[in-house]
């Protein structure tokens, strides 16, 4: 059995690791995904949901209609 002092140190270490993981995990995935993707995506596409909605509209509505109204 480890001594009280070691125990405390281990618990503190776990707490620290937990905090790093909590705040760092998603940024880490985005960093790895962003750097390793092929082709590399643009940052604006990564964040903006607007781009997606327009993209879907293009699929759903006949593209000619969109061109007619000057939306594309």
């Amino acid at each position: 059995m480890p001594s009280e002092e070691t125990k405390e140190r281990i618990i503190k270490g776990i707490e620290l690791g937990r905090t790093i993981l909590h705040y760092g995990w998603i940024p880490l995935i985005i960093y790895i995904g962003y750097t390793r993707s092929n082709p590399q995506p643009s940052l604006i596409k990564l964040i903006s949901p607007l781009h997606d909605i327009r993209h879907t509209c293009v699929y759903l509505v006949n593209i000619d209609v969109l061109i007619h109204f000057g939306l594309v």
């Binding site: 480890p2 776990i14 909590h22 993707s37 995506p41 781009h51 993209h55 879907t56 699929y59």
Partner: protein
């Protein structure tokens, strides 16, 4: 500490197939080797993991898919290979959960999976899988919450052997007092159809307070893999039995029975469900013994847009739930890139008298796939490859990036989807003549690596020569006549030319290493896989015929078994 069996390395070594190096005279090792050989000879299938024991049932039932209220999922595919996706999910108006927002991100390549989700309250869900080999995977799963007592972590190691699956798991292990929950499970195929297993759960809350419980598992898979029955029994009085059957291509049905007969509590729950897979929709319906009837429809209107409706009526409680959702998927890839690289739809091929060699062959090859085709000699594996490359007559549809080969022009298509024969057919001249000839073909000229400087290709420093040299094919042999090359030399040089031209996105390999020794074969495998993964080459997928199951396991990411009735995808669990 003295080991009871002194293990020392003594020459001569035992015959190569022995997995354990037996010192002469070690009865134990001899016995083990004989046992291992005998076990291998039984050729039992891998039973699948314990975690996936009821996978088919769970995928058929809608319990895991049901939702109520409104929800919207917006996901963005930023890259296909490696897969990188971010998503935003919103839920609103559920009877059981508060409105929420969740941001998720996933990154996955062939052996790594990282997934994370964070909600508006700052709770994090994380998953991390690392595959050391396709059958040996480490998984970590955690939930971190700012409110104390809601966090958990689970670390597990998953190993699948030839005919067994082993898993060790620790939930909330504490390095201070070793408290936590530890689970070990083992599932072993005992016949071609039946697998039996045991799961041990050791729970230790505080020093001195621990508990060990065992449960027993059984799984029966029919020979055609169209139905699966499983049972899980805990001696304390809990039984769970499931049955799943694929009634047709479109319809799956599943039943689940849970019984609890403990002194303090007696309970039973039976659930029946069905799933229809239509072309643009999936419909699930379910009925259970607590009087709940539920249904879920997922209708896809476009490849990127789906609409979901769910409903549940609780007849005993006189209550109802309704849910409506949308799923929007977007991608920065062009529609062409979203299509599978290669797609076969009900492809068949007949012998001269109308007798089919094979029929109804349908599968898709995606970016990064190494599809291993297995099957008896004469099942038509080579013919399938020739049909794909348009070297054989077929009926049905073959699409390359969503379009038929004719729309690219057959000669160009054949350079993109390149068939590599097992042996060079009777060719005139030398390999160098052949290389010069193919390099000057108009369709090959686009490749920058060939660019002849003075207008006349000399091919003296061609990439194919470099590749062949790295496979131990001496350069002087390039000027020897084809008829004077041995089987192994011919095979290597044909493959080296295919790799060196680097025009192909898909290589169709017909037993590419059948005439090579183990060492050369391994160098060839490594080169092909590294070219596949490298962004600097055009190679994106391989379709590989091999008669060696070991080679298949080394290189394959997907496995297709060819028989007269078509092809069947073999279930391998990549652990993701």
């Amino acid at each position: 500490m003295a080991s009871p069996v002194p293990i020392k390395v003594v020459s001569p070594p035992p015959p190569p197939p022995s997995p354990l190096h037996a010192p002469s005279g070690s009865a134990f090792a001899n016995l083990y080797n004989r046992f291992a050989t005998w076990r291998k000879a039984l050729d039992l299938p891998c039973p699948g993991t314990v975690e996936n024991l009821q996978k088919e049932v769970k995928a058929t039932h809608l319990t895991n898919f049901f939702f109520d209220g409104g929800r919207a999922d917006l996901s963005k595919n930023l890259s296909m290979n490696p897969a990188f996706q971010v998503s935003h999910s919103f839920t609103l108006g559920s009877q059981t959960a508060a409105p929420s927002y969740n941001f998720g991100a996933v990154f996955a390549d062939n052996n790594l999976l990282m997934q994370g989700g964070i909600d508006h309250e700052g709770n994090l869900n994380a998953r991390f899988n690392q595959g050391w080999t396709p059958t040996n995977v480490t998984k970590v799963q955690t939930q971190l919450s700012s409110s104390p007592g809601h966090s958990m972590i689970q670390v597990e190691q998953d190993y699948q052997g030839q005919d067994y699956a082993l898993n060790v798991k620790a939930v909330n292990p504490s390095p201070v007092d070793f408290s936590g929950i530890y689970i070990g499970s083992y599932l072993q195929s005992v016949t071609k159809n039946l697998a039996l297993g045991v799961e041990m759960l050791y729970q230790s809350q505080a020093p001195g307070m621990s508990e060990l419980t065992a449960s027993y598992l059984a799984k029966y898979t029919s020979s055609d893999k169209n139905w699966i029955a499983t049972a899980q029994v805990q001696p304390a009085g809990i039984v769970q039995a499931t049955y799943w059957q694929k009634l047709s291509e479109k319809l799956d049905v599943a039943a689940d029975l849970q019984l609890m007969a403990m002194p303090q509590r007696r309970d039973a729950l039976a659930t029946l469900g069905a799933k229809y897979d239509l072309r643009m929709a999936t419909f699930r319906a379910q009925l259970d013994s607590t009087g709940k009837v539920s249904a879920l429809l997922e209708q896809r209107f476009a490849p990127t847009f789906a609409f979901l409706v769910s409903g549940e009526i609780d007849h005993f409680k006189n209550a109802a739930k309704v849910g409506v959702g949308v799923m929007i998927e977007s991608s920065n890839l062009t529609p062409e890139e979203m299509e599978p690289l290669l797609q076969l739809k009900s492809v068949g091929c007949d012998k001269s008298k109308g007798q089919p060699i094979f029929s109804q062959v349908s599968f898709a090859v995606n970016d990064g796939d190494v599809v291993v085709l297995q099957g008896k000699s004469g099942a038509g594996k080579s013919t399938i490859l020739k049909c794909i490359a348009h070297l054989n007559l077929y009926h049905g549809e073959i699409l390359y990036r969503g379009k038929p080969p004719q729309s690219y022009g057959i000669p160009l298509f054949r350079t993109r989807v390149l068939y590599v024969p097992q042996r060079p057919s009777m060719l005139p001249g030398t390999p160098r003549d052949f290389l010069v000839a193919v390099s000057t073909f108009h369709t090959h000229r686009g490749s920058a690596k060939l660019a002849p400087k003075d207008g006349k290709p000399d091919c003296s420093s061609h990439k194919a020569i470099e590749v062949a040299t790295s496979w131990g094919f001496p350069e002087e042999l390039w000027d020897r006549r084809w008829s004077n090359l041995s089987g192994g030399e011919g095979q290597r040089v044909v493959l080296a030319i295919a790799v060196g031209l680097d025009t192909a996105e898909v290589l169709l390999l017909d037993e590419p290493t059948s005439a090579l020794d183990a060492e050369s074969s391994s160098t060839v495998e490594k080169r092909l896989i590294s070219d596949l993964k490298s962004p600097d080459t055009n190679l994106k997928a391989l379709v590989w015929i091999t008669h060696s199951p070991e080679q298949g396991r080394r290189v394959g990411t997907r496995f297709l078994r060819v028989s007269s009735g078509g092809v069947q995808e073999e279930d391998v669990d990549p652990g993701v």
